[in-house]
Each structure stands twice: as C-alpha cells, then as structure tokens.
Symmetry: C2
Subunit: 242 residues, 2 copies
C-alpha cells in the first residue's frame, strides 16, 4: 500500500450518519486516515459506528470545522468532486487523471479531496475554494452516486495512482491554500480601496479571481511576488494621497 497520509477526505455538510460510517470504513480499507468534517449535520449514531466496522477511530479523530475555507487553510491543493462540470474550472478531471496529476506533486504537499452534501453536491460557494475538479463517469440516466461509493472509487484510484513515488525532479511544491486565501483577501481590500468592486458584482468578481489563482498552481515564491505587488500598490496609493 502507498503512503496516503498527505491526503484528507473532506466531507461538507454530510447529513446521513450511515454515510459517515461507510466513508470511514472504505477510507481505512484504502489506507486513508484523515477525515475532515465541515459543518457536519450527522451525529455519530449507532448506525454510523456499525457501518464503520473497525474504522470507528477515523470518526473519533475526525477534524471538525465550520466553513470550507478555514478547513482548507493548511492544505496545498483541494480537489472538488462532482458530476456537473463547474464553469470556472478549465476542465473536469477523470479520477485516473487526478491521481496521475497528484503523483507529480512533492510528497509533503497536503491534499484535500472535497465531497459535497448528499442532496446537492458542492455549491458554487464551496467550489471557489477548490483548485481542481474531478468527476466519476456515470450513467447519464442515473448519475447520482452514493457518497461512500464516490469516496470508494476515488480512494481506490488514489491508492493505485500514488503507489509509485514521484520523480524528484518533477515534484512541484504548491503554496498553502491559507496563503493564497490571505492574498485573495488582501487583493479584495485593494480592489475595494480603488473602488473597482463597487461597480461590479463584488462576489462574482472575487470568485473569478480566486479561481484564476487556483488554476495558476502558485508556489511560495509566486505568492511572495504577488503580495509584494500589493504592498507596492498600497505604498504607491499612500504616497500619492499625501
């Protein structure tokens, strides 16, 4: 089994206790150990524990957070799951493509695979925090996978795809998502300051910018440069106002 300790399964607003247990079980089957529950709506009921079988420990030690943005701060890359391609992603990866792309990252990069609520999947609000999108090909007449089945298939592909270590020269190191988010907020401040966001739909604009940043696969140096630009911009605005 490959080492999958850098990969976390992030469940957003899960409502079924049975699904919680079932996800924990298949995670442990596939060698995944990190579970993050964002705004979880399901209790750890008897059914949850029963469906988890011997994987109850994953449920006990799951990290619970409020808000997807804060849940993802310490990760380097987040992958949204869903069958509907969202318009701002360049493309929707196949599971196998996702695993191959992840193999290209350095071994210490923290990766979050994000699953939405059972009924709706991830909303646009959630998707803006994600860098890539992955979709499991399904029957168009009956596309909606059970949450644990989707986790099973992606966890299986990850354990297959990451069983070979990355070649060290190709390994990329991305900036932490928290850094990118901090930059986004800094940028939003600047854009408000120059009243750019006043004229447009500010949320829509920021979402588009965040997605641009996500697609750019920024590393630490990129972020230093971008933040340097904003600092310079602010200095310029200040000196001009004097």
């Amino acid at each position: 089994m490959p080492d999958l300790s850098r990969i976390a399964i992030v469940l957003v607003e899960t409502s079924s206790p049975g699904n919680l247990g079932s996800v924990a079980r298949v995670m442990k089957n596939m060698g995944l150990g990190r579970l993050v529950l964002v705004d979880c709506r399901a209790d750890l009921t008897e059914e949850a524990r029963q469906r988890a079988r011997g994987a109850g420990d994953l449920l006990e030690k799951a990290v619970r957070t409020s808000g997807l943005g804060s849940a993802l701060k310490s990760f380097h890359l987040s992958v949204a799951t869903g069958s509907r391609p969202a318009r701002w992603f360049d493309r929707c990866l196949q599971p196998r493509e996702m695993a191959a792309e992840l193999r290209g990252l350095a071994a210490d990069q923290q990766i979050a695979i994000v699953f939405g609520p059972e009924r709706t999947g991830l909303t646009n609000e959630h998707l803006q925090y994600c860098d890539w999108q992955v979709g499991i090909p399904t029957n168009p007449a009956f596309p909606s996978l059970n949450l644990a089945h989707a986790v099973a298939i992606l966890a299986y592909e990850l354990s297959q795809g990451l069983s070979e270590p990355p070649s060290s020269e190709a390994a990329r190191r991305l900036a932490e998502l928290g850094q990118i988010e901090a930059f986004s907020q800094d940028l939003e401040g600047c854009l408000s300051e120059i009243q750019f966001l006043k004229k447009q739909n500010p949320q829509e604009i920021m979402m588009t910018l965040r997605q641009m940043l996500a697609r750019a696969s920024l590393d630490d140096r990129d972020i230093r440069i971008l933040r340097g630009i904003l600092r310079q911009w602010k200095w310029y605005a200040r000196t001009k106002g004097e």
Copy 2:
C-alpha cells in the same frame, strides 16, 4: 458510457438487505443492469429499496437461482472476487488487469463477476466454478471491503476498461460454462467408471481438474474435441467389455 450489458453481477448468499439495495444503486450508476442472486438470504425490505434509490428495478428483475454452478451455466467466463488468493488460481488479477483481459474477449461473451457472502467471502466450493480471480488491493491491517464498495470499484474499472471496443482480430470466444460443466460431469463419470476416483479424494481431484479446464480458456472447438475423446473412451470401454 460503454455497453456493459454482457456483464452480470452475481451475489452469492448475500445476507444484508441494505447491501442488496446499495449494490443495485451503484450498478445502475455504472451502467450495469444484470443482477443474479444465488441462494439469497436477504429480503427486499424497505431498507433495500431505500438504499437502491432509483435502481429498485434491478432488484425486481434480478435472476434468483439456487447453486452457483447452475447460475453460471449460460456465461462464458466467471471471475471470483476476493482478497485471499486461492491456491489453484495461477494468480490473482488486479481490477485493472481484469478489465484489460475482458476487453480482449468478443463482444457477445457473457461475463459473470461473482461476489461471496459478506462474512466469509467465496468458499472453495464456490471457487471451483470460477475461471479467474480478481482482488482489490486494500490495507492489510483492515482488508475487508463492504460488498457494495467492492462492486463499486470493480464496476468502475469495468466501465473504464471496456469503454474501448475490442479489436476484432484479438477477440476470443470462449465456450459457455454450462458446456464446460457438462464436460466435467461427463469426465467425472468416466473417471468413476475406471475407478480412478475411488482411490483418491474425489472432490479434491475434480476441483483440480475443473480449475485446469478453467485456466485453459476453452472455446467451442476445444470442448467438441474433449467430448469426442470421452465418447471414444466410452466406446472403447464398451467394446472391450463385450
């Protein structure tokens, strides 16, 4: 989606109604429509229907049989699922290898993927009816997959692997398993007749012979030749006794 109508999911002695429903759902998600229930121990309860969601039709039209041997008669190839490699199989295929091998068969070959009872998996008694074995790689410390999760992963690999049509020159056409079973029984009769089976453990010997036949990937012509040999043998025994 590829055409998977030639593939059936065969569940042996399933005991959980929830698993029945869950298997039906993921089968339909993945474009599989044929479900065979062998000596099924689970009723179509409310839980089964609920877990099936919109795939209740697969449960309704599932073929119910008694005994794995008779269930497999009209198939050309059967694949046993299980994490423990059985000693008489040459090797335990990875899911992706299985899908690649199946792609090499002609499009009209009927294929059964066989899943054992939840607690025990397939027994040696069941395995003698199977041609190949496939195993999903799992965490050695926590290997036991939920039935529906195992179906999800293999159905996913099948839908991936069979999405390309086979090249016509490479397509192989295997004999129906019923034909091979009929030959095995004929052979057993002959071996009893010549008192070969008396000295040995007859069940053990027949199991080994059945597995040899399975590994040989027999086609119709092979079977005609083998049955011809037995006919000739019987004729010889009869004329000698006169």
